[in-house]
Amino acid sequence: MSADNVIEVQGLTKRYDEATVVNGISFSVTRGEIFGLLGPNGAGKTTTILMLLGLSDISGGQARVLGFDPEREPLAVKRRVGYLPDQVGFYDNLSASDNMRYTARLMGLDREEREKKIAESLDHVGLHDVADRPVDTFSRGMRQRLGLAEILMKDAQIAILDEPTSGLDPQATAELLQIIRNLKTRNVTVLLSSHLLDRVQSICDRVALFNLGNIALLGSVAELGRQVLGIGYHVDLEAEGEGLAEKLKTVPGVRAVEAAGSNHLRIYAERDVRADAAATVIAAGGRLLRLSVETPSLDLIYNRYFENAAGGRHAA
């Protein structure tokens, strides 16, 4: 484990009476990374987050957040970590800035710093113009942004976002994801949970796929693709020519080539083989019409993994 890990989790377990909600998971998150906890509802993502924040007791294993034990030193953790809960709520009768003022006081910021930071962070998330409007006039997206403003105000080193994009329209989602990317440029580590796999795939450096309290898969999306599907990249190629498929198979890194239609080939590869594929087609005297690459979607990886897991169980 490197010293740059801001979150380290070893065998973390949460039990309620009989049910085990989180079952001995281990992972670590490095500084400045966007780490996704992905999986269906009820897979244990929120429980994991609450344990990291010291808001829920840990039944077994251990967690370290910025080197602090969330069970023993929750205040130290909560001073440095910002949290945006699932469907965050605010005091509806208070204005956006008054809501921020209350949390700023709880954080212990003094008056001058408070006002400066509130203005700055509301500005950053684009809520400056409505700072004095009561929150009950806010849309869902505005509330989420207000929640992010609170994390910015805190100067948090880690931002933990629980389902930040659920229930948002596409535009609001795009705006929110942009703000989350900006967090990364400020060197804030982001831990986010979501059940919408493809939505967050675009911004996560690494993901952990949760299932029934376990981490089923862990790594970057391309790595997971290699692990589960055996390939990292899909290259779609349209070209006119004879025997191209056979020639393409000889390109280093290519695992398989299958025909997907007339003049349409799909190449499964370990790396991005577009340049080599193009060169091969030209060298073979073919006419290259289209060439595109896509990393496998998380949805595909996820579904395939659980098909395999189920198959494995049946076999056993």
């Binding site: 829920s56 069970e71 023993r72 205040l75 945006l84 699932d86 006081r105 954080m107 929640g147």
Partner: protein, 313 residues
């Protein structure tokens, strides 16, 4: 396991926030007007009655609190004993589940404070708000009494009235703690309010009548003294009974005992003669302690449940 940092870190911030919520809320405005209007009505009746009967009572001023205009049975004290629980419940029934339902709880608790500060801050802010209203009301009554009766209260009368004020605040604390306890147990504010109000009605109206029936039904002894005492102890489980007894001892200086009086105790006693303040206080002391202990117990029960509760909505 030792936790780092003070459990009360951020307490002041929570108190200020809750206070400003209470003092600006519509609910509070309605309750305040209710108190003032009812109190004025009762006071007016009392003053009329006192003017009609110009007895040579050394504690005429205290009669303001305990006299009703015939034929109405409502005295200032009886109004308070009904309205104070109502206000306290009105302020406490959605203290914690309200935060849950607004989904603000996890956001607030992710700030560097412990749950202790949130719960304690809410209780103190509620108690403070109640105290402010009650002190204002108390001053109003004293002032009106001065103006309308044209009679200054003696030092002892003021002292008794002040103790009455403190006891009323403690009484309010019991109901506030009870309301907060149910606001922690029940997720729905409506359920919490109904259960608290139901329990209040039960303890105030039904329990005092039920206690003797229970004793007669279950007591093994047919000794009348035992029966009376047992019924009295049982009925003292209700904060309303305790409050009523304290008020009787404090505002009515001729009260010699809150239980049965034995003939031996009456030997040499001048019937109808007032007791000194210290004696009255001693008579009511167990009840006063009972009220304070009750609110602490209820608060602690709520505290324990809240600490173990999951924050997720």
């Amino acid at each position: 396991m030792q936790r780092e940092g003070s459990a009360l870190h951020g307490l002041g911030v929570v108190i200020l926030k809750e206070l400003s919520d209470h003092l600006t809320s519509v609910r509070m405005r309605v309750l305040e007007w209710l108190v003032v209007l009812f109190a004025l009505a009762a006071l007016y009746g009392a003053i009329q009655q006192i003017r009609d009967t110009t007895a040579e009572d050394p504690f005429l001023f205290l009669k303001l609190f305990t006299t009703a205009r015939e034929p109405l049975p409502f005295t200032f004290v009886s109004f308070l004993s009904i309205l104070v629980p109502l206000i306290a419940i009105g302020m406490g029934f959605d203290a914690v589940n309200g935060e849950h339902n607004r989904r603000t709880l996890s956001r607030i608790l992710s700030q560097p404070i412990y749950r202790d500060a949130l719960l304690f801050g809410k209780f103190l802010a509620g108690l403070f708000t109640l105290s402010v209203s009650l002190i204002a009301l108390w001053l109003l009554v004293i002032g009106l009494g001065l103006l309308l009766l044209g009679l200054p209260p003696s030092g002892e009368e003021l002292a008794r009235a002040f103790i009455f004020l403190l006891v009323t605040i403690a009484y309010a604390g019991v109901w506030l703690a009870l309301a907060m306890l149910f606001s922690i147990i029940f997720r729905s504010p409506a359920t919490a309010a109904l259960v608290t109000l139901g329990l209040w009605l039960f303890l105030t109206l039904i329990w005092p009548a039920l206690a003797p029936a229970i004793v007669i039904g279950f007591a093994p002894s047919s000794n009348e003294e035992t029966l009376i005492l047992a019924a009295q102890y049982l009925s003292r489980l209700s904060p309303s009974t305790l409050f009523g007894e304290v008020v009787l001892a404090i505002l009515n200086p001729t009260t010699r005992s809150l239980g049965p009086i034995y003939l031996s105790q009456l030997q040499g006693a001048v019937l109808g003669a007032p007791m000194p303040l210290g004696e009255s206080l001693i008579i009511a002391w167990p009840q006063i302690v009972g009220l304070v202990a009750g609110s602490i117990l209820l608060f602690v029960a709520g505290y324990v449940i809240f600490q173990r509760q999951e924050v997720r909505a």
